[in-house]
Assembly symmetry: C2
Homo-oligomer: 326 residues x 2
């Protein structure tokens, strides 16, 4: 059912260090090592994998959050960090058009951490999971020098929406907040704690959890959640679908808190919208003429070939999205 994995480059080099190769180069080295059995309907490379278990399509996805890389204990409360760790994973199944049933959480923590901190982290994870009716069903706790939080989600969907289904002529639409968490990150990085709305958005994202299944029902051809930033994530859709995407900057309403941050920091606030990560909004493509579900806004269009993403017809010259090891 699934073709054997094929390296996307003839021979991926394994010389040198991870930093030299970069995150996506490393993934190209690793993924071909993983043979996929026939019960794997969707293997590595999408927001979640899909495994056939009995008559059901079971979705699974995992994310590992590392202290001082993905969160800072002096920027966010333990409860915030729990919400965010769960949200990042729940969002992955949302982006497949699915819904999470269960989470497992593996936690590495220093022995001198306060028990109350861990309790609040667990409360945050449980509260975020409850938003979609999911249960935290198990986990692991181990000692470590820094806090690491590995969350894996398990869920189901009627029919998964992949990154690879966008077709020329489709419209590109988004649902959820764009750029708020990224603006909050900028603000916190400069030592400020306001505007409160963007700082809160960084600490505790609000993924549009019903939007994924609704988009799937409405006929979305491709979907992805926005964790690296809109342009970077649309780049994954364009690459997987073998098409190009053009985004119209005039389609975005740049909201007041983003304009305030832009003015204060001397930055174009559109940059937050186009490249800010960690809001866990959704981007999807739909056949032209589709009546979009509530909350979705058309922001662009799919064209044939190219596998590139442009803004108003040209390459975007602002900062790129997030990549690890860079």
């Amino acid at each position: 059912m699934t073709p054997p994995p094929v390296p996307s480059q003839p021979t991926a080099s394994t010389a040198g260090t991870v930093a030299e190769l970069g995150e996506f180069g490393l993934i190209e080295v690793i993924v071909p090592l993983f043979a996929q059995h026939p019960d794997v309907l969707v293997g590595p490379g999408d927001d979640a994998a899909v495994v056939a278990i009995g008559a059901n399509q079971v979705l699974v996805s995992t994310d590992l959050l590392i202290e001082n890389r993905h969160f800072r204990r002096d920027w966010s409360s333990a409860e915030d960090i729990g919400h965010k760790a769960a949200a990042a994973n729940l969002s992955d199944l949302n982006a497949m058009g699915g819904r999470t049933t269960a989470l497992v959480v593996a936690l590495a923590i220093p022995g001198d951490l306060e028990v109350a901190w861990v309790r609040d982290l667990a409360s945050g994870i449980a509260a975020e999971a409850a938003l979609v009716g999911a249960s935290v069903v198990g986990g692991d706790v181990t000692a470590s020098d820094q806090v690491s939080i590995a969350v894996t989600v398990l869920g189901t969907c009627a029919a998964p929406v992949l990154r690879s289904g966008a077709r020329a002529g489709d419209v590109v639409a988004v649902c959820g907040r764009l750029g708020w968490a990224g603006a909050g990150f900028h603000v916190l990085g400069r030592g400020f704690r306001s505007p409160r709305a963007v700082v809160e958005a960084h600490r505790r994202p609000r993924p549009p959890y019903s939007a994924g299944p609704e988009a799937a029902s409405a006929g979305a051809t491709a979907m992805i959640d926005l964790s690296d930033g809109l342009l970077a994530d649309l780049g994954h859709v364009a690459a997987a679908s073998g098409c190009s995407i053009d985004v119209q900057s005039a389609a975005f309403e740049v909201e007041e808190p983003l304009r305030a941050v832009g003015a204060a920091l001397g930055l174009d606030p559109l940059q937050f919208v186009l490249t800010g990560g960690d809001d866990y909004a959704l981007a999807a493509t739909f056949p032209a003429g589709t009546t979009l579900p509530e909350g979705w806004t058309v922001v662009g269009r799919v064209a044939a070939g190219g596998a590139v993403v442009t803004v108003d017809g040209v390459a975007y010259d602002g900062p790129a999205g997030h990549e690890h090891f860079r």
Copy 2:
């Protein structure tokens, strides 16, 4: 829809640090925070959780391995570490009487790590997964100061065998190697590289993967995999089942490499058998008179009440099993 979570103790204290409370105390604080929905058939506290998805019982379990806590890069090759990370997880589903279908792997690594090391780690994970016909279906890669490997496994079983089913009169049996990895750990810890058999057992455990489903079919009443050490893990069975377990030391064949390590280090080699962790053998209880599947050896008996584990009728006075933060 979900009843509010009820703490399992009137008020578990959350004062102080994780090290002061200990691993199991911490788990008692966290687990009551996780409300379980009706589709959760087995929640936290067993080797794996069991979630109903359609007509199927889906098993899920997760383990996080941290560099210099669970493995050392100067003691084990990357491929060894991959095998062991996968084995620790596959073993959890084995201990439920299940079989793993899919794994996801979240990896945190320093940027200066060699790409070849990561490739070999991935190869080891894939090779161990292939032993049970499972696929690595997805993952996550992120930057970190030390190597962390979070593996989550997904699988199925006919009817899960829990820790809580042991009954007075049952026999206790084991399957797989006991104490080899622990003896290897002692040897490596003193700077030696032989006997090779125990060093290899530490580097690359050999869980008896067919034994779990076979024990379930044969009517095992309780089962657990041996990661913390036989007595410690039987203690989990005794506590969950509300019964006591007595182990007969004469039932164990203390094999030659263990005797050699004991003689060289001036230790009773039975200590490795009773308390050595990380072999991922299985211990199970069966109704008296059960014809045990091949590879299982009776080593003890279940008695009513007490929730304690004894050796030859008395408390064991050797070293205890492993607990994190201690």
